[in-house]
Amino acid sequence: MAYQDHLLTWVVMVPSMMLPTTVPHVRYVGFGTRAGRVQRSILLFVLGYLTSWLVPGLLLAAVPLPASASVLAVSALAAGAWEMTPVKRRALLRCCRTWPVRYAGPAADASAVEYGMRHALGCMVISGPAMAVLMLAGHPWWAVVALAVVMAAQKLLTRPQRWRALVALAWLAAGLAAAGVAAFG
């Protein structure tokens, strides 16, 4: 597949998987701004959010896809290890953190974009590695669905840090399976 195709996949995949997890923040932005400009603020939030996600996409699209089984094995294991780091734990705890939203005028526009970008940064810490592995694996539909469910749960359920070991184990299994394919397939 060509670079543009890879990038296009990313551009379709990220919003469809990540945007649903931002619903509480979209509501917060919407309720924080003047009644006549709710849609405008939400749009600016989404713009800021997706633009931020585009940056890693531009890099990832340059990797030839799908990657070899051994690369997949290593990256799946890395994603599993990432689950257990304090950085990921902290990001999970902070992912419902809100930022000041301005009420009207240019200040409101700027705050919506800034909110989207700040929130995207947090999401990338939480889900970035997983999204990268998914991309490298050639985004099979079942993996897309499974990961979408896991990420939504991690972001929207309370105290997700309690079962991140389970998520890490799932990654370990996936990594080992990929390693098996690399060795014997």
Partner: protein
Amino acid sequence: MLTSELFAGDDLLERIAADGPERISRFLNDTDPAVGKVQQALLLWNPAILPFHGADGTYGSETAAAVVQFKTLELQVPPDQLFDDVGPRTVRRLDEIAKAAEPPPEPPQEQGFVRQDVYQLQPPGAPVHPILAAYAVAVRELKRDAGPPHRTWAHHTQVHGMNPDPGDGLRNQCQHFCWYFLPWHRMYLHAFEAICRAIIVESPDVDDDTKATWALPYWDYDRDDTRELPPAFREPALDGAPNPLFEPARDLGINSPVQFRGEPAPRLARLVPEQTTAQGWFLSTPYSNPFDPAFAGTETGFNHASAPNAVPGPLEITPHGSVHVFVGGRFGKMSDFNQAAGDPIFWLHHANLDRLWEVWRGSTGLGLDPSGSRFIDRTFDFLDASGQRIQPSCGSVLNLANLGYSYADTSIPASAGAGGPMDDPNRGPQPPRERRRPPRRVGAADEPVRLQGDAATVEFATDTPQTRGNERFLVSVEHISADDLPNAEWGVYLQPTSGEPVLIGTLPLFGLRESRRTDAEHELSYQFDITELVNRLDAEGRWDPDRFRATLAPVNAVPEDAEPDPDVVIGTIALLIQ
């Protein structure tokens, strides 16, 4: 002096028993009310002794015969001294029999524990009250930190807060900024109180009366003579040994007098009415709402986290947060989730908050207990007095009778009427209004507000509706960040179109340290319901629907030796309607 309930206080019987000249016979006092009582007592002695007339109140031949039989068999009166009248010995013996037949007095049981006002137990200058001396015995034993976990001070402190989280489901459990704040702390205190009582009952240093009735006292700081830390907690020594109720890690002026800025002489730190008023919480209903705090805090999941809507209820702000930060200051234990319960005054402070919840439940909040299963069935884990793990549910602690204690006083605090709305005779408990939609902003400051020096102001245009219905007005103070707690507590005042500013609420910033941790879910946010205030100002023609003006200023004095004030920044101040 007669002692049975049957005889005591009867004039005639008392006079006879005191060897007076009077008698009861077939000719004297034969229809006096005392006759029926004597007959009842005779029946207690022998239920078959008045077979025909029973206790008919008349001293006839049947009663006379019964008295003779009583004197012969019970008093061993020889036949030659027998008269068929009622004299002193007969009355006294029948009194004993009646007394013995009374049901035994109720042994002190759990229902009887009464939590009492610490300032009434021991006013300034009075000797240490036995209830407080017994509390000191329990705290001293716990502070040895030598027993099993439930018998250590460290455990009880860690149950409230601990970093890192030990993950045992028992510690680091405190519920703040949400609707579980009140029930969780009620369970926490109840378990702690039972453990203290177990220690007190075992102690040779406590008298039996205190052992039988001991309950955790409460500190009602919302009165002019109770605004300083209770005396028993300020003394470094007790009976020549270190006082376990004393805690050195408290703010300047709490334990001993200091010089405050601009004042003539040193004094103890004193809570100001703004920090203890019932004005904020008393009128709040219902118990909770999904998106705004109502009385008790927003409806969230476990802990002070997990949703962008976690906001404390008005009682959790004032007096709860205010008193924490008043005692703890910038460096003391009471200001820190992980250490607060390590100050023995913590438990009296929370007993008072638990009491104020009862005041609300019996007045404004009458019949408004939460009923959904998300609240009722929510359980939390604690260790009980035997060290067993227990899991009380929020529903099981709503009614104090189930927990076996009550409060000496649950009358409505005087400060609840401040501001006037309670003076309205037509005003009763308000029907709770269902608030299933989030409040909507109608205006907000378009830049952060910095709190420095003496005062700050904020002003912005608002889009409030031209015609008013039954909207609720809220002021939201969000995204508060600071390097540290400020020296004074800041108050937020609404500036009417004319006249003096009116208090909206204070910003205690209890939880600031936690909100600054790198894994903190939230910066601090507060919401104040100002509906009553707006209605009042509107009626007086002093409410501007198009413009919101507020001032912020410290409410209490600062000691001369205080550290320089840190920067406090409020991300947003907004006006909301619902």
